[in-house]
């Protein structure tokens, strides 16, 4: 990872929402090694509790479609769209039909099939952050040097 990428990643917080502790700890550790700050949620209720905290900044959510709690991954996506507009969500799951449904519910959120390569998750997060940066950049003509690597 280049210094620019590492520095940029350190500014971004990813919420990993997965009810399988062994899967969650692997992807969370990988993302931390890539320089991201990672917050973990063991079910959708924990995810919602974290997202309701105004002083906790989250940029991207990585959520399991089959996450436990009051909301499944699809409904969590819908909740995020309603309450945290602009927050990007990546759903991960295994069932193709569910993937289609998730894609409909999660208008910006791409869906990744399990088993997934953690590096692909990182690539996806980078793309989402780049999209966000493009949307929020005051001058659209020339991206800042630190964001160009994600374009």
């Amino acid at each position: 990872m280049t210094p620019i990428v590492a520095a940029r990643a350190a500014e971004a917080t990813v919420l990993v929402a997965d009810s399988d502790v062994l899967e969650r700890m692997v992807i969370a550790a990988y993302l931390r090694d890539c320089g991201y700050r990672v917050i973990e949620a063991a079910d959708s209720d924990e995810a919602v509790a974290i997202l309701k905290e105004e002083d906790v900044e989250v940029y991207v959510i990585l959520a399991d479609v089959a996450i436990g709690g009051s909301l499944n991954g699809f409904k969590l996506s819908a909740w995020v769209r309603e309450h945290r507009k602009g927050l990007r969500i990546i759903l991960v799951g295994t069932i193709d039909d569910s993937a289609e449904a998730a894609a409909d519910l999660c208008e910006h959120g791409p869906l990744m099939a399990k088993p997934y390569d953690p590096q692909l998750v990182v690539d996806r997060i980078k793309r989402l952050l780049a999209e966000r940066d493009r949307r929020t950049a005051p001058d659209q003509t020339e991206p800042e040097a630190g964001t160009r690597v994600f374009a």
Partner: protein, 142 residues
């Protein structure tokens, strides 16, 4: 880096129970069901240089204990949701992974002598807890 499998056991290749104090990041298993408290304590532990695996209940904690994740210390609450509480985690961990150090961090810690290596009553000072963990890890390899 292994793939993250679906519904199966994550493949961690690190050695079990690495207690070397010179190792860059000893790993703590933090068991706490209060989401925001767990998040804050885990953050502080990571800033202190530890790797932290987070578990929200006893089942998650035992999944980690039975994996070959390189845990050095378990820090656990006692009152947890589900069929098992923190004391069950400790009793099972003692059999499965006798090398592990155990710290109780609970609002109402049990008085049973010898159940854990140290006990902290909530609200506790995380810096003091971190210091204790460092001492434990150093002591374990002397």
């Amino acid at each position: 880096m292994p793939l993250v499998p679906f519904g199966g056991t994550a493949m961690i290749t690190s050695p079990i129970g690495d207690l070397d104090p010179d190792r860059r990041s000893p790993t703590i298993l933090l068991v706490e069901d209060e989401t925001l408290l767990r998040m804050a304590v885990a953050d502080q532990m990571r800033r202190a240089g530890f790797d932290v695996i987070e578990a929200c209940n006893a089942q998650e904690a035992l999944d980690v204990v039975y994996s070959n994740a390189p845990i050095a210390v378990i820090v656990t609450d006692i009152r947890l949701p589900g069929a098992l509480d923190g004391t069950a985690i400790i009793r099972i961990a003692r059999i499965a992974r006798p090398e592990l150090k155990v710290i109780i961090a609970s609002a109402n810690p049990p008085v049973e002598a010898g159940l854990a290596h140290a006990t902290y009553a909530k609200p506790y000072d995380v810096e003091a807890l971190v210091k204790e963990i460092r001492e434990m890890i150093r002591g374990a390899v002397r």
